[in-house]
């Protein structure tokens, strides 16, 4: 029944439609209906993912659910969509997280709630577009269009420094993406096509590959963000509203890694091979240096933001380690493990950082402070909230049984086949992550209550329990049964590795 339905198009354009309806009826309908409508729209989106998953053939690396129509015929740009296992996993994640964010943040905004919700639906649509696009220009259009709702949501509903943060965010992102645009157009000049998969076959001179790598690197490293291009994230995360932070951390950062996996590595195997040691070094710096920075933060959101950078560093490490693994031990199995570990890390990071940011956003809403010094003893007044927070924190640390463990474990085990030093440094992060996360938990939840505002707080209600419960199910499910996710990824990862290692193996 779903063979001829353009499922991907529906997934992209349904939220857009829902958002437009919301914007045009904003003045006429009461707030409660706006909230219900948004929740239903995102639930429908999530349900529409079910046939997508059911009809997806996990044993094939081919792009599935393909759609292709001429869009700008003069330039040969097509409206081409299709997904492989990695895209599927990320699309499922996007639909799920948006659903959670919409429910979780609808209590945290006071004014212009219709526009706020519409921004999230738009951002969701654009992100699914990014993951599903097979045409490079279409990819770029979605990639850029996503900035507009994010920019507005930071700037309108953000904290005191919101204008600064929003403009910084937009300019940083734009810097990366325009350079990438030139690289895409350059590839077009050589291949006379904008199909991403056609780019994979192109063979370029070494110096050209390195230049193109630099262009893609700037785009994706800013999005990730990779040290030292991470400074935007701190301002943006601290200033943006709770929902904005979650979307940013759980979904948008993934697009950076996705870009490396989809563009940089398979298109430019030689350049990536050459640059892999430097990328690993950057990732390790991100993991360790940024981890240490997180230790000394007093601002809750900033701390989570730093931790988020460190965790994305892990994903980059997993991606680029494949080159050293092949180089040192010629073990394709370990390369698989490293690469899949990176993707699992991305997904798991979405759950635990998303949960932490949502919790931090709520806490800021309740008491009006992000500063850890204003908190203490919250476990006494809010035991259920404390339990959920603890679960997210432990997943962030990488406790076995949570999703955080799976990705980090896979990457570290694979690292031993690349280089002992890499493995050592990567393992160190577990200690640092444990230190900053647990310190934060200690400062918030234990000790005496110092702030009278904390004393009078009521524990979370059924609404919040539902939201956190959803995220917790995600964390535990992937932590206990990662095979489900790995099966989805396996064939596609193999194909991408094959393209990325063309000259390495």
């Amino acid at each position: 029944m779903f063979e001829n339905t353009p499922l991907l198009s529906i997934l992209i354009w349904w939220p857009v439609l829902a958002a437009i309806v919301l914007l045009f009826s904003a003045k006429k309908i009461p707030v409660s209906i706006i909230k219900k409508w948004t929740v239903l729209a995102s639930l429908a989106e999530l349900l529409m993912c079910i046939p997508l998953y059911q009809h997806f053939n996990v044993n094939s690396y081919e792009m599935q659910f393909q759609e292709s129509h001429s869009w700008i015929s003069m330039f040969g740009i097509r409206y081409a969509l299709g997904i492989d296992g990695i895209s599927l996993a990320l699309i499922l994640l996007t639909a799920f997280t948006t659903f959670v964010v919409v429910i979780g943040s609808c209590k945290l905004v006071k004014n212009n709630i219709a526009q706020y919700m519409a921004a999230f639906l738009m951002a969701q649509a654009m992100m699914i577009g990014v993951f599903a696009a097979l045409d490079a220009i279409l990819f770029y259009v979605f990639w850029e269009a996503m900035l507009i709702p994010m920019f507005l949501s930071i700037g309108i509903w953000g904290d005191k420094q919101r204008s600064y943060a929003a403009i910084k965010f937009f300019i940083y992102m734009f810097l990366g993406s325009v350079v990438m645009l030139v690289a895409i157009l350059y590839l077009h000049q050589i291949t006379h096509s904008f199909e991403i998969t056609k780019f994979y076959d192109v063979v370029l001179p070494r110096h050209v590959e390195l230049w193109l790598f630099a262009a893609f690197f700037i785009a994706f490293a800013i999005k990730l963000p990779l040290w030292p291009l991470h400074t935007w994230l701190l301002d943006v995360h601290t200033e943006s509203p709770a929902g904005g932070s979650v979307v940013l951390a759980s979904l948008m950062l993934k697009i950076g890694v996705y870009g490396f996996i989809r563009f940089s590595m398979p298109i430019l195997p030689v350049a990536n091979q050459i640059m892999a040691p430097y990328m690993i070094a950057l990732a390790l710096i991100a993991i360790i240096y940024v981890g240490i920075m997180a230790l000394v933060q007093n601002d809750m959101k900033k701390l989570i933001a730093y931790s988020s950078i460190a965790h994305m560093g892990f994903a980059v490490l997993g991606c680029f380690m494949v080159y050293s693994i092949i180089h040192f031990s010629h073990s394709i199995f370990e390369a698989y493990m490293s690469f899949e570990g990176a993707v699992v890390q991305m997904i798991s990071h979405a759950f635990n950082t998303g949960g932490l940011f949502l919790a931090a956003g709520m806490m800021q809403y309740w008491v009006g402070s992000r500063n850890l010094k204003d908190w203490g003893g919250l476990a006494k007044t809010m035991p259920i909230f404390a339990a959920f927070f603890m679960l997210f924190a432990l997943s962030n640390v990488g406790l076995p049984g949570t999703s955080g463990f799976v990705g980090e474990f896979m990457v570290i085990v694979a690292a031993f086949h690349a280089d002992f030093c890499i493995a050592l440094f990567a393992s160190l992060t577990l200690v640092i992550a444990a230190a900053y996360t647990l310190l934060m938990v200690k400062k918030i939840f234990f000790g005496p209550i110092t702030n009278h505002k904390v004393e009078v707080l009521q524990d979370i209600g059924i609404h919040e329990i539902f939201v956190f419960g959803l995220l917790s199910i995600g964390i535990i499910f992937i932590g206990v049964y990662p095979q489900w996710l790995l099966e989805m990824l396996h064939a596609s990862v193999g194909h991408l590795l094959n393209d990325s290692l063309m000259f390495g193996a």
Partner: protein
């Protein structure tokens, strides 16, 4: 002979019609003073609509798409498209001028007839195929504009702008004439085709003379488009001229000069392509640098838009500099879309000025998203489009220019272009920041709802920015076919 007359008749009809209209309005104004203002306004708008119909008629008259009359004029798809755009943009500008003139208690009759004379100049310019036609058309277009610039006699800013515009404009005319005379000295002809033939086999001293001539002609035209280093008049005129004139100035004249420019480069100057290419690259880079950097520090909204227009003209010029048909059609696409965007932006400012009479600086827009959410949203679309963010049309325009640059192997220039568009992004984002993020500085004392008819056309430009951004295929195709 009859055929010859018929050709002339069909070619000149729209221009002649508008010229007659202008003269009639002048007479009516002389005898009726202000009593006939309403009639004059509606009559003019009706006349413009009729002349669009007359231009459409030309498509049927010249089915083979190109007709050259006596070496002096050429009617083809390009000139027809140009004519339609010019009149449509003028219609749009006059629509918003009326209330602005009434508010400032300026007579409408003279204003309209001067605008009409200028339009005649532009229409002739789109068909010019001869250096003398070119010069006369250019002056016919410019002189009414000089006068209109100082239309508000008591405004000192207006007089200053007019004087600057006139003096620099006269200098540009001098450049142009000097260049034309040198070209005549080499080619012994004024016709574009003959000049092209003469230029294709040049030697020694003739070559130098021809190059100097070409340089001067290009400088003269660059002045009219407001390209650096001939851009000095742009910010002053955009700021100082009556708002209704600025609205006119950013639209129709740019299209007219563009068509002329394209035709000149496609015919007369083709043999010297390697030489003028470098000149144009230089002008374009300079314009983008000066325009973008100067716009960063502007607080006055119109000055900022003026500097940004210098930068945009620079981006557009890259399409010329590439020297290929893809480049040229990319430039045409850029020009059409940019002109519509900027007309929309200036119309929005004019609209806001109806009410509060105080939207001068960028910060005067603060809190607009709460007072007029729809208008703010339209300005948002226009501004994002100028910045070149997808899915608006500005992105497609920049994309087509970039593609033509890369096709010509100009990777460094392409990188320069995208990096400078980041600089541009900053000042565009500032406008959005003020509208959406800032609290309103002061509540307007009297803010009646903007009438739906007057917001309609502004809305159309914003919707154009979004719709053509998503479905650009047809317009891109049109831009290519008219130029071939």
């Amino acid at each position: 002979m009859e055929n010859f007359l018929g050709l002339y008749f069909d070619a000149m009809l729209p221009g002649a019609f508008i010229l007659t209209l202008g003269c009639v309005i002048l007479l009516v104004t002389a005898f009726c003073k202000h009593k006939a203002d309403g009639w004059i306004y509606y009559g003019t708008q009706l006349g413009l609509l009729i002349s669009i119909a007359l231009i459409f008629r030309q498509i049927a008259c010249f089915p083979d798409a190109a007709a050259i009359a006596h070496e002096r004029f050429r009617i083809d798809h390009c000139s027809i498209l140009g004519g339609i755009l010019i009149i449509a943009l003028s219609f749009f500008a006059l629509f918003y001028s009326r209330k602005d003139l009434m508010r400032q208690q300026l007579p409408i009759g003279e204003y309209v007839s001067l605008v009409l004379f200028s339009i005649v100049g532009m229409l002739v310019m789109t068909t010019a195929y001869h250096f003398l036609t070119l010069y006369i058309a250019l002056e016919l277009m410019s002189f009414p504009l000089y006068i209109l610039c100082a239309y508000h006699r008591k405004s000192s800013k207006g007089s200053e702008a007019a004087l600057k515009y006139f003096v620099t404009g006269a200098l540009a005319s001098g450049f142009l004439l000097f260049g034309i005379s040198l070209i005549y000295g080499v080619a012994h002809s004024f016709g574009f085709v003959n000049v092209g033939i003469a230029f294709s086999n040049l030697t020694g001293a003739d070559m130098i003379m021809a190059l100097v001539g070409v340089a001067f002609v290009l400088a003269g035209l660059a002045f009219k488009l407001g390209l650096a280093p001939f851009h000095m008049w742009v910010p002053d005129v955009y700021e100082g001229a009556p708002p209704s004139l600025t609205l006119f100035l950013v639209g129709a004249p740019k299209i007219a000069v563009f068509i002329l420019f394209a035709r000149l480069l496609q015919t007369a100057f083709v043999p010297l392509v390697e030489h003028w290419q470098q000149m144009l690259y230089l002008i374009a880079i300079l314009s983008i640098l000066i325009g973008n950097v100067a716009a960063l520090t502007q607080t006055n909204l119109r000055r900022m838009l003026a500097y940004s227009s210098i930068a945009h003209m620079g981006f557009m010029l890259f399409g010329f500099a590439v020297g290929s048909i893809t480049g040229l059609s990319a430039a045409l696409f850029y020009m059409i879309t940019y002109v519509i965007l900027s007309v929309g932006a200036f119309a929005a400012i004019t609209l806001l000025n109806y009410q509060t009479n105080s939207v001068e600086t960028i910060s005067d827009l603060s809190g607009l998203s709460r007072r007029h959410p729809w208008l703010a949203f339209i300005i948002l679309l226009l501004v994002f489009s100028m910045a070149g963010i997808p899915p608006t049309v500005g992105f497609i325009a920049k994309l087509s220019i970039l593609m033509s640059l890369l096709e010509a192997g100009q990777v460094v220039v392409a990188v320069f272009m995208v990096l400078m568009s980041i600089v541009g992004l900053y000042y565009y984002l500032r406008v959005i920041k003020v509208m959406y993020f800032d609290e309103p500085a002061k509540e307007p004392i009297y803010a009646p709802a903007i009438s739906s008819s007057s917001i309609l056309f502004v809305s159309l430009t914003g919707i154009f920015a979004l719709l053509i951004g998503i479905f650009p295929a047809e317009l891109l195709q049109l831009c290519q076919t008219v130029l071939v």
